[in-house]
Each structure stands twice: as C-alpha cells, then as structure tokens.
Symmetry: D2
Subunit: 386 residues, 4 copies
C-alpha cells in the first residue's frame, strides 16, 4: 500500500466509552448468570449511545455544567426457570453497576455518579432461548450468519498508532503526566515512508494550573512521541493538539479528561475494530463486538477468533509474512462448524505455499476446535475487543 | 472472488429506521436553515438509537403492547446572530417533526404517534462555527480528516441483493402484496456460481387473515424472487422466512411491518453503506453518513462522491470493467482540495491503461470541482445514503 | 366568613392537564379491563408531572420551540390470569392513547403529537390484588384509610369563580371568541361584599392578528364577565390579564392556549378539588382524585360521594341552608361500611334539627348503600373530579 | 372536635423524599447563587416525581432489581449578567448533587448512586426576573397571590403523631433499632379520648436476620410507642405494621428502608404540610412549600410565617389557648405588606380579648416586619417545611 490511513480512538473517547459500557454490561451479566445459574444466559446489549454534556474547564479547575448521558440498550434474560421456580435477575441493577464500575476503572477524573446520567433500556429477551443456553456441555449454536475477519501482523503505521495511544494511557505515563486525559485520539496518514500523525489528547484542567504548564506538558509529551517513532522505519511528523491556538487562548482543556463532557457523542459499535484500530484500507467487519454475548454470538466470537488465528499463523509459521483469516458462521450451525473458514497468506521471499499448507490448516482446525477458549478469553478480558 | 457475502437491510429494518431518522433530522434542519437564513448552518446528528417495543401480533390483527423508543442525538445551531439579533431555531420541534414525517413516509403500518416514543437530545453546537457556515460563495472547509470509498459496478450478487429488497419494497409490489412489511432483510452467500439467498420479510398481521393466507403469500413472493434471479448468471437458492415453522405455529408476523416492534434495536451508522449494501469482503468506510451535515462533513460527502465518481468512470470509459475511487480529506482544507484522490481500475481484456488515464483523470477532476453538486443531490434525496 | 379566597384552574391549566391525563389513563384502563375481563382491575395512576416547553408566540402565528413533556406514573395490572392463561394488557399503549385523546378532546390548538412528548412510567401492580378485583358482585374493600369531605351549596363567590371559567371555556364562547385559550385561571378575593376577581386567560396567537385585535377581545370578554357578575349579590371588580402592559408590548399570548408551552409545570393532585375549586378557607381533602381507580380507592370515591351527598341534602331538605359531609373509610372494610359518616347542617331561620334529622340520615344511608353508583358516574364522566 | 384524623409521612416516605429533593435543590441553588453573586436568584423547583423501583428483600439481605426514578422539575436562573459578562450557572449539576446529598443525609441504606436514577428537568426562568432579585436591600415583591395558614398549639393527637415519627427516626432510636427504616407512616384516628394509631415502618432486611428477630423488634418498638402514649391524656391503641401476617410469611421488609423501592410513588407537594402533619379536619394550605424560592415565593414564606406567628402568640400571651393566623399576599406588593393578616384566638377560661389584642397585634406586626428572618430560617434549615 502506498497510502495508509489508520486511526485509534483511545479508551476515553466517547465511542470507546460507550463500547466499554456495552461490554461491561455483558460481562456483568455473564458473571451474574454464571454465579447464580452455572451458565451464561442469553443476552445482547450491543446497542448504546453517549450524549455529551456541557462543561466549563479552566486552568486549575473548572466544573461540569450538564452531565453526560449514557444509555445501554438490548435484551437480556430476566426470568429464569431454575430449580422449579421463576428466578428474577436484577438486569437493570447489574447493568447500572457494571457501567459505573467500568467508568471508575477507566477514567480518573470522570465520576459516573457526579458527572453522568446512566440509563438502561434492556428488555426481556425471547424466553425460548433460555433452554438453549442452559444445555451444559453442548457446543453452542450460532445465533446469526456473521463473518469474522482478522489479519496479522499490523503494519508499522498501525503498530505506531496503537503504541502511541497505549503509551499515553499507560500507568507509568499517567503517573508522570497526570495532565493527559484518557481521551486520546490518534490518526496517521502515511504516503510512502512519510507519516503525518495527528494526536488529540484532552488535557485535565485541575492538573494544569496555567497556560505555560499546559504548553510545557505538550512539549514533553511530543518529545516522548518522537522518541517512540524514532524506533520505527517511518518518517513521522507528529502534531499534538493541533487545534490549539495559544495566542487566542485556545487549549484542549477538559475537566474530566474526555471530550464527551462538552458535546461529543458516541454510539456502540462505531469505534475501534477488534484489533484496536480503524484501518479503512484493510478488510474488517462492520459488526459491533462490544455487548454481544460471548457464548453464541458469532459476530463477536469469530472476529476475535480470526484475529487470534491470524496472529498464530504468523507466529508459528516462520515463512509466513502476512496472514488473513476469514470465518463465516451459519445461523443454526454449531459455532465450531462454520460455513467457510479460510486463510490467505503472503510468504517471505522464497517461501512455498505447499510447504506451509499443512501447518496452516492444522492451526485453523485447532482454532476452531478450541473456539470456546475465546469465550473464556473474553470473560477474563484477555482479548481487547475495541 | 470465490466467496462473497452481501447483505442489505431493507428500509423498515431497525438500523435503517434510525439511519433514516438521523438523516431526516439533518434534512429538516437544512430546509429550515436555508429558508430562514439563506445558508445551511452547522449541525451533526449522526448519533441515534432505536429500542424495540413489545407487540402481540395475530392473524388478522394484534396490537402493540409497548411503544418503540427512538432517539436522535447530536449538535445543531440553535441561536443564530442574524440581521442584528439572536434568532432562536426550534431545533427540537424540527427534529421531532422530521422523524414523524420520515416514519409516516416510510412505513405503512407504523404510526409514529401511536406506536413510538420520539426523543431527541440535540445540543447547541459550537458558536464559532456559525460564521463559517454563513460565508456565502466560499468553498466549505472540511470539518474532519475522513476517507471516502466507492466502487462500480456492483457484482451480480450485490445487484441481486439490492434488487431483491427494492422489488419487495416497490410501490407496485406493495399494492399486490400488502402483507409484506417494509422490514426486509436480504443476505446472500455466494461460492462460485451458487448463491444461497436468505430473505427475512416481516409480514403484516392485519393484512394476513390466517396461516393459509400467509403460506400462500410466501409461496407467491418466492416465485417472484426466483423469477428475478432467473435473469442473472447466478444459480440462486432462495429461503424466504426460513425461521418459520408452520407446524409449531411459528410465523414471522408483525403488527407494523418491522421487527423493531418486538425487541429489535438499532444504532445510527450500523446499517447499509452508501451504496445500499454491506459487503464485508469489499472496501468500505466505517463512517456513518446519515445525519451528518451535507456542507462540510466529508465523512458524508466524500463517500457519496466516491461512489458517484466510480460509477461515472465505468459508464463513460468503455474499456473500464471495474473502478475503485478513494478520496481523503484533510481537516481545514477546502473540501474540493482533498489530500489524496485516487482511482484504480480493472480494464476489459485488451484495454490499455495509457489509453484511459487522461479520461479518468478528467472525470476525477470534474467530480472534485463539482463537489458541491453532492450537497444538492443529498438535499434533493437524489442519492441514497444507506 | 368576612374574607374569602377562591381559585379555579381552568381545564387548560398545567395542573388541570396533568390531572386530566392521570384520570384519562385510569378511564382508559377501566374501559379496557371491562371490555376484556368483565371487571375493572387494580390500578392507581395518581402521580404525574407536566414540564413546560418553550415557545415563540407572535401575533398571527408563532411556533413551539421545545415540546411540553408529560408523564403519568403509577401501577396497573399488566398480567391477568384469565380463562386458564396469562393475558397481557398493553398498559403503556392504553396510557399513551388515553393521554393523546384527552389532549385532543380538551385543547383546540395543542397537538399532543406535534407539541408534546408523552411518557409513562406505569409498573405492574401487586398480583395479589387481581383476584380481589375479579370477585364479581361483592362490595369492594377499601384500599386505604381516607377521608372524604364535601359541602353544599357553593358560596356566591365560589359560584362566580366556577361560572367564570365555565363561561370562558364553553363551546358557544369559544365559537365567538376563539382567541381565548383553554388555560383560564380565575382567582377571587372577597372582603365583605367586595370581590376582586383576577382572570388570566392565555390568548391564542394564531387567532389574534395584532395588538388592537387582542385589546378589543380583552375588552369584549371583560364586558361579558361584568355581565355575569351583575347577576350576583356581589360587588365585583374584574381584572383580565392584569400582567399585560400594552405600552411595553407585553401580552399574554400563547401558540397553544396553555402556559405549559412556555415553562409552567404541573403535578397531579395539586389542582382543583373535587368540587372544581380551591377554597383554602373551607374544609377539603389533600387527596388527589385523578388517576385513582374508581372501584376501591376511597380517596377518590368518598370525596365524590361526600360532595354528591351534601348537594342532595341541600336539595331535598328545604330547611337546610348548608350541609357538610365527612366520610372516613377504613382500610380492609367494605367501602359501604365506613368508619365514620357524618353530616353537619346549617338550617334556615326557624328550622329545627329534630325535624330534619331522619331525612338527613336516610339520605346518608342511601348514599352509602348506593356507593357503587359513584363508580359508574366516574366511568361515565358524570361527575367532575377537578 | 369529637373526631380527629391526623397523618404524618415520615422522612423516608416517597412523598417526603420528593419534597426533600425539591427543597434540597432549592437550597443548593440558594447557596450557589449567594456564593457567586451575593444574592439568591429566581428559581422555583416545586414540581417533582418519584417512581418506585422493584426489589427483592429477604431476611438478612436481598437486592434491588430496578432502581427508583426521581425527577425534580421547574425553573432556575441559568445565565446571569454579572460584572459585565454572562455567567453560566451549572443548574443541572447543582440539582443532581443536592439530590444525592439529600438522600445520603436522610437514608442510611438507600444509595442514590446505586439504587436511584436521578433526573432533572429544570429550565431557564424568565430573564426579566434576574434584575429584581439582584436589587440589594429592597424588600422582595410577592410573586403570587397566596395564602399562608398556621395554628398553634398542636392537639394532643397531633403531638403524638409527630412525636411517634420523630422518635422512630431519632438518632438514638436508630442506633438501638437499626432495623427500623426511615419510611415510617403514622396515622391516628381519634373519637373522644380513644385513638387508633396505625404505624407502618419499613423494616431493613439486611439488619433483620430472620422472622423471629423481626417479630421481637416489632414487639420492642411497640412497647416504646405505648410508653410514649402513656404520657398523654389519650387512650391509644397502637397497631405497628398491621399488614403483616406472620403465618403467611408476610412482613413489611425492605432493602433500603423505604417503600419507594417497591412500587410506591410520590409527587412534590402532596405530603406533610408546613407543621409536619396532614390534618384534614383543620385549616391548611394546598401550596407546596418544598422547592419554592425562599425570597419572594409567598406560598412558601407565608405558610412558614403563619405557623411561627401562631406559635409565638400562644407562647407569649399566657391567656391564649389556641391561635390561628392567616396571611394573604398580593402579587406585586412587597412581601411585608400583605393584603390581609389576621389572627384568631381562643382564650383560656376567664381570658378577655380586650386584654390581649394589643399584644397579639404587636406580635403580628413584628412577624411581618421581620419576615425576611423566615428566609434565613429556611436557608439554615431551622424550620421544617414538610
């Protein structure tokens, strides 16, 4: 590719917050269902919206004027026929608690109780589905016809975009620069070796006493980023908070560390894809993964599995330079029996496809046989979904 | 491509309804702004959610138990400094009215007043942007760095998927088969020449007196679809409402013609792409087009322009078999000065790239020069956006 | 009484609109329950709120900027065990439809679909209560310990206040003066024979082309009111729309005929008492009658019965000048077996209590024996409740 | 009076909670306005609603299934022209924070963040009113024609009703019996000397390990109440949680200490009057006091002043046995210049009206002259309003 565009919405970006809220509700439900009934029951909460609030940040302080509104919607099992009686699941309370805890665990300066209105519109799912979910041991049956898409490795530009956000949101960096909020948006445009990298980082007003402090942090952070880029083969030009205009007194200042406090909105499923990026020039799936149940929702599981499998191929088969995995489920089939599962690879110079075919097929088969491992990885948060 | 998957969500599908609602609000605002101030003013209402209701359809009738909730969110200019005073724009009323009229114009049996709760959370956009929008004559400046992606022509499978939904939702067909609701979802999986085509059409209970009537309509419609497919080079196997189980009394019956009445939810920007399809194996943009302003939101304009240009190239340059257009805007640049605009083509046998390069470049240049034509086409609804 | 204060909130006043909405929902539920199950089932929707919108009225037109929000809350039976199965009642749809139709039937220029957001928060009532309500023939059992208070006749001031609003909202008057909105608030202060009467009538902007038209209607209406007062023994001074200031361009102009369009809010149960008035110097009950079920909610039934009985006593016993009735229910008792039922009377000169005691007791007994007649009167809207 | 009915809704009763929320918002606004602008600015938030949730209490624990919804509505000054610029007031945040802190300060086991959805619908009040409120020193002008009503002393039954709730909600009692929730409803019916006293106290499930513990607490509390009553001249029969049926396993058990967790709703202004009681047989005002601004809203100030003045008269004039005060404001008059202010008294045997007239008049005059003291008492929470 001559030209490449790559974007990552950081963990405090409105689209990431609402993805995170949907996923937190799914995980909260999973935990409750497992704890009370021994099985994860049917749910799908992959719809949601965050509507920005209004704020008045100022150096050294500032305040929230109107709260951020966040709502997760979907279906979940509320009434469970269990051991001879109908047991009621506190879906709304689980959802609200999960969202609150997700926010508390993700954002340092956004208080879900003080700065947000948390709403849920989760309705009872179809009762027919309960029995299906409670059948122990059996392989779950795909709930939809969906396609999973994955590739590996990332391009150097993708790696850099991901790495940039990860750095700025790492624990160590936050300790050193608490001024930098969690809403970090990174966008790269590459032509040949030249990359223009635009980074927008919401700065936290209470940690930034004045303009000169702000400017000095921006300078420091820019240096860190340049250092990060210097380790790559790319020729990178960073712009950090390019919208600022110091003379006109324009700074990217927030009270809470996210632009959602002042008007930026978001919808579930519109942020990063399952590899953490939006790479519009590569193949990807439109499916939202956040909020779907990790048991039989192939829109979630197969996207995760495809990425994992593509990485596995690259890792285990030395002559493979790039791998692309596509898996297509069929509604009603067991999830380990997809309609199509295919891998395409680019080999290193001198590699021969005949020499690697067997190994790749075996990795693909393995992946599918162990598909339920993906459910566990999702439950244990061992795979990032957005 | 050996394998192809193509999907179209019909105009009554929950994701299409919420896309339509966002776009209707944008168009309603455009009309108001133009009428009162001579310019379209800043707005962006590309976030939204529809939360399914609860219904009890039955042959010959049935009723809605809980309404469908629909909400459009975003920003719009509410206070306009105009002719020496601050003029207030009734944004909320425009939005509500636009949504109601969109539903009335789209759905025959879904009454926005009786069956829906319409909500809006549209806040005042940044006042700085007003002046920019009121500058007459000047080329608008791109509000974001976005990529537009388009290709032409559609594959036979894509054509068939689009054609299937268009047929079932055509005026003539609805007159003949009023039983078929607007929520028609079409999904095709092609391997070689074989296509499995799954069509799910919500049937309208009040128009379907009994099971035998239902079954006979399904049979008739299936025949129409087979006839449609017989004109193609594909070997198509249709399944219409495959989830039905007549023996168990399971039919896809709805009161209003959309699955949103009974639990299906939707988010703006998660439905069809700008060519009316979801083709996960081809290149496309994640951007929501619905609800963005058609003046300077390149996430909307460039996706439309790319599709139009790709079509133009195929139409005007006989030796071009396939064309792919990509245009990349840069925030702050005039929208007719993108960072990158490129076309890739596949030629018919014997075609030579040198022979068509000039013509293609001229079409590309023309397209960009006349980019504001896209704004007008959007306003006049001459281009479908989802 | 030397001093008297009397108020009536007209049928378009925010507090009356929300009372009306609560009562409409109760009546809608009654009709549905009766039609489907042969009995009125448990419900209580006597809580509600109306939050004013925002409008821009102007002579000859104007528009609504933000809609009025209205919400009715409470409990209702949603699942009915009937003829061997669980039947679901579309409570939310009944509620929404009832509110819409109430508004359409009450207000000429307020369109519930265009100008209002209608919300409901009605939850499933206790299932234990269903059986109680389905027991045919049996006398219902009081659901609370409540007191009903009634008196008759009205004082001349009360009569005049009631008559003023009734006149301004009568069909004939509206035909003649369509400019006068339904939100008419009448307040009287009497000292001796002198009454200061303040009437605030929301004028409808679309029917009022200009200021001179407005002023002439105010003048005409004032004359009608003076004529009405001239038939009384009181010395009345009317002030119609006293807040107007013609010189400063201040008029009481509305688009819809109610002040709720521009910021005036209301709560169920805070408007007129069961005799249509607020007379803070006389005895009355704090209970909201609107929205309570008319079968066993003594807070509603006994207030209505007390007023009816007091009127009956004055009508049938010529020597009684004034009568005061108080009935106190006891939770768990049949509603026709109150804990206390007492009547106090003022006799005309020369009357003797011994001569009327028997007659009064017999009227009281009759009233209680026929207490279920009150339920029917409420269902047939033969008694005004606020 | 031969017959007397008196009720008190305890501080955790749904109607008290929503009154408390409205008043907390008013106080929060007052504090902010005073702190930032030196004056209390216009506001009126005397409308509100609380919609009960859903819970599953059980001995020793239990959980909330659906949260309680609470909403305060009204008007408040949001934009203040101050020192040459428009200053924005974070009304929504002040409101939300005030409600949360009110709940935390009132209820031990109801967590506003975990168990409640807090909503506000407070709109910008009329800008004309700002200047009026900022005029320093001047006596505020009455914003409405309202009547204040007060009497003293309480009857023994009233005293007992008030004392009962105060005892059960006292700090000492809560320490001893943490099982007793804040939602205590007391109702007394007196005939002659006999009083039937019904007390309903929501018991807290987490503090009540089992049925026998519940029963023993009820027994203990009953003894405390009997002891309280034994100090009066009344012959009182207490019923504590009379709806319980131990054999059928029916207990008044709650997770949070309020019936609002399970379906009980409330509206601002429908609970206790300004003396803390609902005494339907005595004179009182329909006006909601909670949420009205304490500067010029005579519906609040005059009710408080009337009660204070009536108490003062009884206290300072030994021969006065009972006093009744009524004050009527006139819209547009300074609040210390009411239209009517009258006191009626009942003297002890042998008392002479001529001997006390002067003293009473002087108390009345004093009260009115110092009317602004009431504003301060409200701000300092030195007067209970409901």
């Amino acid at each position: 590719m001559d030209v490449e565009i790559v974007e990552r919405k950081g963990k405090g970006h409105p689209d990431s917050l609402i993805d995170g809220a949907s996923e937190a509700v799914s995980l909260g439900l999973c935990e409750y269902y497992l704890g009370h009934f021994g099985s994860i029951l049917h749910h799908n909460v992959d719809k949601g919206i965050i509507v920005g609030g209004k704020s008045a940040p100022k150096f050294g302080g500032g305040s929230i004027i109107s709260p951020i509104y966040i709502m997760v919607a979907g279906r979940a099992t509320e009434l469970v026929p269990y051991q001879g009686r109908q047991v009621e699941v506190p879906v709304e309370e689980i959802a609200r608690k999960s969202i609150r805890e997700f926010i508390k665990g993700t954002m340092r300066f956004l208080d879900p109780d003080e700065h947000m209105v948390i709403d849920t519109k989760i309705k009872q799912g179809s009762p027919d589905l309960i029995a299906v979910f409670m059948r122990k041991g059996a392989m779950p049956v795909s709930n939809d016809t969906s396609i999973g898409v994955g590739y590996a490795p990332l391009t150097p530009t993708e790696d850099l975009v991901l790495g940039t956000e990860k750095l700025l949101n790492s624990t160590g960096f936050k300790k050193k620069y608490p001024e930098v909020g969690e809403d970090v948006k990174v966008m790269a445009m590459r032509r040949g070796r030249k990359v223009e990298m635009t980074v927008a980082a919401a700065m936290v007003s209470s940690k930034t006493p004045d303009a000169s402090h702000y400017i000095s942090v921006i300078k420091d952070v820019s240096e860190h980023l340049e250092k990060l880029a210097s380790g790559t083969s790319l020729d990178v030009n960073f712009k950090l908070n390019a919208g600022d205009n110091y003379k006109h007194g324009e700074f990217y200042l927030t009270v809470t560390g996210t632009s959602a406090e002042q008007g930026d909105d978001g919808n579930t499923g519109r942020g990063n894809r399952v590899n953490g990026l939006i790479s519009p020039m590569r193949q990807y799936s439109m499916e939202a993964t956040a909020g779907k149940n990790p048991v039989n929702h192939t829109g979630k599981i197969l996207n995760a599995l495809s990425v994992l499998t593509a990485r596995e191929i690259v890792k285990k088969v030395p002559s493979v330079k790039e791998s692309y995995v596509r898996i297509l489920s069929r509604i009603g089939n067991p999830i380990d029996e997809p309609l199509i599962a295919s891998a395409a690879v680019v080999l290193n110079d001198g590699g021969k496809i005949s020499a690697v075919r067997g190994e790749i097929e075996s990795i693909m088969n393995d992946s599918l046989e162990n598909i339920r491992r993906v459910t566990n990885m999702i439950l244990e948060k061992k795979i990032e979904l957005f």
